[in-house]
Amino acid sequence: MSSGSIEKPVAAPYAATSNSVRRVMVIVMAALVPATLFGFWLYGWPAVYLWMISVAAAALGEAFCLRLMGRDARTVLGDGSAWLTGWLLALSLPPWAPWWIGVCGGLFATVLGKQVFGGLGQNLFNPAMVGRVALLISFPVQMTAWVAPLPIFDAAAPGPIAALAITLKGMQPAFDAVASASLLGFAKTEMARGVDLAHSLLQAPLQAWYGSRPGSLGETASWLIVAGGVAMICLRTITWHIPVAMLLGIAVPAALLHAVDPARYLDAGTHLLSGGAMLGAFFIATDYVTSPNTPRGQIVFGTGCGVLTYVIRTWAGYPEGVAFAVLLMNSLTPVIDSYIKPRIYGRDRRGAALEPGK
């Protein structure tokens, strides 16, 4: 009996993992769900709208570029990476920002941050952070207009219709009362006025360890972000190297300087739970495309992200530094990858063959 027919030769292996790019993206998005839902609850309908707008804009930007390149947008969008980029961007925005912030950010992220480099896998910088930094530099007022938490079912919270007005027309006077500053921003402003931390923190914006505080969606729900990140490590979607290195990179200098002068430097715990530290460590810096490939390279990269975050927060003009730190380290990723390589079996670290006698 005859079996099989002529086919195009395909090399071994003739078996493949069930893992796929799509599965990876879905796992990351699933890990973001608890934190996102908590953020929706905390900031109400405007946050929901902004999230939808950002995600849609990122996907549209990607689809537009794919169409320009004559590629099939539907299959590429199906890998989920554009949606994830929009989602991560939304988590880093002020929850009550107007609609065009989401649109511009989403388009910046996928068009400028990703597709101009050639699409998935080719970009040098993390697309979501490119979007966020472009927004922060272009629209500093809107990008620092934080609001105090106003849970979605609170009587004072805007309903779905009122929220639509906030998203479409910007902050309404009726809700001016909730405008607030994030903790890092507050501390920085007070410091600039000459008020040291010992005094300013007494009047600091409402702090709650579980995250009820002004900030972005991804900033407030730090513990849920950590939970999502740990779940991804358990599922082997990411490894522990970058998150641990980045958090240590923030915590160690913060603890040291806080011990030296508590009136000038915030403590390590505040640093870790504020700003996008957790989101950055578990979800942003661990982006496969823009981070090094080897465990040792990842530790260098993570440490760099952490220390730069701390440096920018403490001494630079911006109160928050995760996005800048990640982008700076992204630019170093090729350098790290070319210097830090795994040792090859039968060779020493420099690539020379081992001595047979050894």
Partner: protein, 453 residues
């Protein structure tokens, strides 16, 4: 895998007995071929090679007379009384090659081991590819043959002890081998973790001895020699029974096979016949010679079983489905999976861009083609095919370079010859002229002025 071709020593129409020499090896790294059945030689020519190219391969076709009459064999009752060189000679004459897949002539390895004073023989029972179970079966059912074959090899290479590495998911094989080796303390059974690619020489050596084989060096240089369990059994048959290698155990598996199992198959029988013997539930969507990780694609089943084939897999469409390749997302899965510590994604990126030297810079030559990287790739990039392509191109380039150099030497030799010829011609002409003038001078007809011109 494709050594020097053997030269036929039979004629078409000739009657042959099982085990009779059909073709003699001509070069060093080559093995003779023996008749796997008794019968008549019907053709000497090309058949389709068990190779993804579907190209032809020189072959001798023997039609069986269904009697399986053996040629007179030369059994040895006490192989340990033979000189090591005699064992190597008999092994070579029996056409025994590495049956794990590399098909390197066993006797050549013996000589290497003897020369480099190998102290440890490693018996590879670390069959690790999914679907395959031929080595497991050999260890379970022919443990005595494996152990005695291993002891014969130890004698041939002068090794002090043998380590039999068996994956810890094969308890029956381990038990059978432990019983067979109980009387021989120098043969030690060692469980190894069942983790692909444990059957790779380098990984097995490292697991068993803690030694790393240096890059570009042979295992013998760290004092060990690796032989597969099936090879040990073949050496036993070659020496103790005097039987050349004419059959091998092969796993027939895959969801398209009705009754999967291991069978002793005569070498050279058609893959289609073996599949028909085990029964097919449906027309296979893909045929593979070897395992799913490192095996060879077969274009069709009308190809002969070769010595290195440890399995034949007939996959259904569902098993054969390969997901569409996508862009590399630099997730690093391949880097973590690579047992050699290479960076498959970087090598593939360079090859994709046509920069083969760049890939060589990432140590393409150290790749063992185990397929781990391509297996774990979430974008399903055919990484191994990139590497195979690059290796083929690089060796073609090297052949072209050698050819150019040889041509240049020939061209220079020709120019030198032409120059020499011209010089000699001129010398001859000058001599003739001189003789002529001398003759004329003697006859006194030449004027003095003319001589000066």
């Amino acid at each position: 895998m494709w050594g020097g071709a053997a030269r036929p020593v039979v004629l078409v129409g000739q009657k042959v007995l099982k085990g009779q020499l059909l073709a003699q090896s001509q070069v060093h790294i080559s093995a003779p071929i023996h008749a796997p059945v008794s019968g008549r030689v019907t053709a000497i020519g090309e058949v389709t090679a068990p190779h993804p190219s579907g190209l032809g391969l020189a072959a001798i076709t023997v039609e069986s007379d269904d009697t399986d009459r053996w040629i007179e064999t030369d059994p040895v009752a006490d192989p340990f009384a033979l000189a090591p060189e005699e064992i190597a000679r008999r092994t070579a004459a029996a056409g025994v090659v590495g049956l794990g897949g590399a098909t390197f002539p066993a006797a050549v390895k013996f000589a290497l081991g003897k020369r480099l004073a190998v102290h440890t023989l490693i018996v590879n029972g670390g069959e690790c590819e999914p679907y395959l179970s031929s080595d497991d079966r050999i260890m379970r059912d022919f443990a005595e043959q494996v152990v005695e074959g291993a002891r014969i090899i130890m004698h041939a290479i002068g090794a002090r002890d043998a380590l039999v590495g068996i994956e810890d998911n094969k308890p029956e094989a381990m038990a059978a081998m432990a019983v067979a080796a109980a009387a021989f303390p120098e043969v030690k059974i060692r469980p190894v973790p069942a983790r692909y690619p444990m059957g790779s020489d380098k990984q097995l050596i490292e697991t068993l001895t803690g030694k790393e084989v240096p890059a570009d060096a042979r295992a013998a240089e760290v004092g060990v020699l690796v032989h597969n369990v099936s090879t040990c059994a073949a050496v036993y048959k070659a020496i103790r029974l005097g039987q050349p290698l004419v059959e091998r155990i092969v796993t027939i598996n895959g969801a398209a096979v009705a009754e999967p199992g291991n069978i002793f198959a005569p070498l050279g029988c058609l893959v289609d016949d073996l599949l028909a013997y085990c029964g097919l539930k449906e027309v296979p969507a893909r045929l593979i010679l070897g395992g799913p990780m490192m095996g060879t694609l077969l274009l069709h089943g009308r190809v002969p079983l070769v010595k290195g084939a440890s399995g034949i897999l007939a996959f259904t469409a569902a098993e054969a489905a390969v997901p569409e390749a996508g862009p590399c997302i630099r997730c690093g899965s391949c880097t973590r999976a690579c047992p050699m510590g290479l960076l498959p994604l970087e090598m593939a990126a360079h090859i994709r861009a046509g920069d083969l030297d760049g890939a060589v810079g990432y140590s393409l030559s150290d790749c063992i083609s185990c397929g781990c990287c391509a297996y774990v790739c979430p974008s399903h990039i055919p990484l191994v095919q990139y590497f195979s392509h690059a290796r083929g191109e690089l060796s073609a380039r090297e052949r072209a370079r050698l050819r150019t150099e040889a041509g240049k030497r020939l061209a220079e030799a020709r120019l030198a010859r032409l120059e020499r010829d011209a010089r000699e011609k001129a010398e001859v002409a000058a001599r003739r002229k001189a003789e002529r003038t001398a003759a004329k001078a003697r006859s006194g007809t030449v004027k003095p002025e003319e001589e000066t011109t």
